[in-house]
């Protein structure tokens, strides 16, 4: 196997420089690459284009990069949880492209599957369709949307091995596998990094071929956005 292990987040993001396009896995604050985000804040790299389903919250996730003004453009589907984001957006400090969530996921997958474009009905007849090719199949209109590639994809998995194989836990899987496939360079941070052979080949969600660097992250906060519980009856 090919050893993809790096020492940590700093080494992993060493060549993420100003102006790069990066994808960040996660849904809300669930399954986000916390260690990579912290390293990007520390490094102070600027003018980033970030592709991520959400934009974090004011003080966590991608919100940390927004606060320090490191982000030039966000490409997301839902950004409703971040007041600083909304302020930068409404004031024109931040470029934002909002795209349907399924379109976002499928465009990432398309990159990993070598499909230059896909067809989706999402957004037909709305402002999302402006300037896009519409095509009718079996009586239904679809938009042609292009595959999404990024200079770097930053993903968070539960377990990984040094060959780059990844296993995700629960709904923290979300966008991580599709973004892992769409990075020209994919960096995976994992809660537990093991040797090849310790993961069951049948249980691997992302094969190592899609991952270029992997490291064991630390101090995961895993903040909860909406803590909802039920009474014990």
């Amino acid at each position: 196997m090919i050893n993809k292990k790096v020492s940590g987040a700093e080494e992993a993001i060493r060549d993420i420089t100003d102006g790069k396009t990066i994808m960040l896995g996660g849904f809300g604050l669930c399954g986000i690459p916390e260690n990579c985000i912290a390293a990007l804040v520390k490094k102070g790299v600027k003018e980033l284009t970030c592709i991520s389903n959400n934009a974090g919250v004011d003080n966590f996730g991608i919100g940390l990069l927004l606060k320090t003004r490191q982000v030039k453009k966000m490409i997301s589907s839902y950004v409703g949880e971040n007041a600083e984001f909304e302020r930068q957006l409404l004031s024109g400090e931040l470029e934002v492209e909002l795209i349907p969530q399924g379109t976002l996921a499928t465009r990432c997958m398309a990159a990993g599957y070598g499909m230059p474009a896909i067809f989706t009905p999402a957004g037909v007849g709305t402002e999302v369709a402006e300037g896009k090719e519409i095509r009718n199949f079996n009586g239904k209109d679809y938009l042609m949307e292009y595959a999404f590639e990024a200079d770097f994809a930053l993903v968070k998995a539960w377990k990984g091995d040094t060959a780059g194989n990844l296993i995700f836990r629960s709904t923290s899987r979300n966008f991580n596998p599709v973004m892992a496939m769409a990075g020209k360079i994919t960096i995976a941070e994992v809660e537990e990094l093991v040797e090849p052979g310790e993961l069951d080949p049948d249980h691997i969600h992302t094969p190592g071929v899609y991952v270029h660097r992997i490291f064991q992250g630390s101090a995961y906060e895993k903040r909860i956005e909406q803590r909802t519980v039920r009474p014990r009856s």
């Binding site: 849904f27 909406q226 909802t228 039920r230 009474p231």
Partner: protein
């Protein structure tokens, strides 16, 4: 006039045994609390879960286990987890039998707007555009009138659209309405204590109503 739970309760009566259902954020989420006895439905959450269970007991919240509303939830026996691409794959391929979501405006030809108020609010469409463009059966849970008493059931939406000509049924605090294929709202049921006249004057879009409209049965 129904409260939010009343709307959810009425919508729950639309569930059929064996349905896979996607519940949007807000009132639709409450529908899960009123699933009729003997009706077996599986809830899909578009962040990657089929078989959404109830909220966890206090102290058992798992930050890795959330729904599309970012709420901590649980799984059920028979649940499955998948990535976002497969999640919207099953939505686009119409494996989900029913989608229930909220709206700011619905028009008489079935257009829906629920993601943006230009210059004021920009939350994004999330999965709503995919859901409304793909679902074979969509019910909207919404307020019939805003706080100023203005109708949100319009001849034409004024806000940026989420989807066109896709909504077939609307349940509000005042009424249950079908949207006719040829256009127009058809009043099916009125909320307890709400008159047909009040619904007529609260509906800016074209409204069709029989002289007698039955009251909702919420039990």
């Amino acid at each position: 006039m129904l409260d939010k739970d009343g709307i959810a309760k009425r919508i729950a009566k639309e569930l059929k045994d064996g349905y896979y259902v996607n519940l949007g954020i807000g009132i639709p989420t409450l529908v899960a609390n009123y699933i009729p006895k003997g009706i077996n439905v599986v809830l899909q959450s578009e962040n990657g879960l089929l078989g959404m269970g109830p909220f966890p007991f206090e102290g058992e919240e798992d930050p890795d286990m959330i729904n599309a509303g970012k709420q901590t939830i649980t799984t059920l026996p028979g649940s499955s987890i998948f990535d976002s691409a497969m999640s919207f794959g099953m939505i686009r391929s119409q494996k989900i039998d029913l989608t229930i979501l909220g709206a700011m405006e619905v028009s008489e030809n079935g257009d829906i707007a629920n993601w943006k108020i230009p210059g004021k609010m920009v939350k994004g469409m999330g999965g709503a555009m995919d859901l409304v463009a793909s679902a074979k059966n969509i019910i909207v849970a919404m307020q019939h009138i805003n706080k100023a008493g203005e109708s949100k059931l319009l001849p034409k939406c004024t806000l940026p659209l989420t989807g066109v000509n896709c909504i077939r049924k609307v349940v509000t605090e005042l009424a249950v309405l079908d949207i006719l294929p040829e256009g127009g709202f058809r009043l099916i049921e009125r909320a307890p204590g709400v008159s047909v006249d009040f619904i007529k004057q609260s509906t800016a879009g074209k409204l069709f109503a029989e002289a007698e409209v039955k009251e909702m049965d919420l039990n």
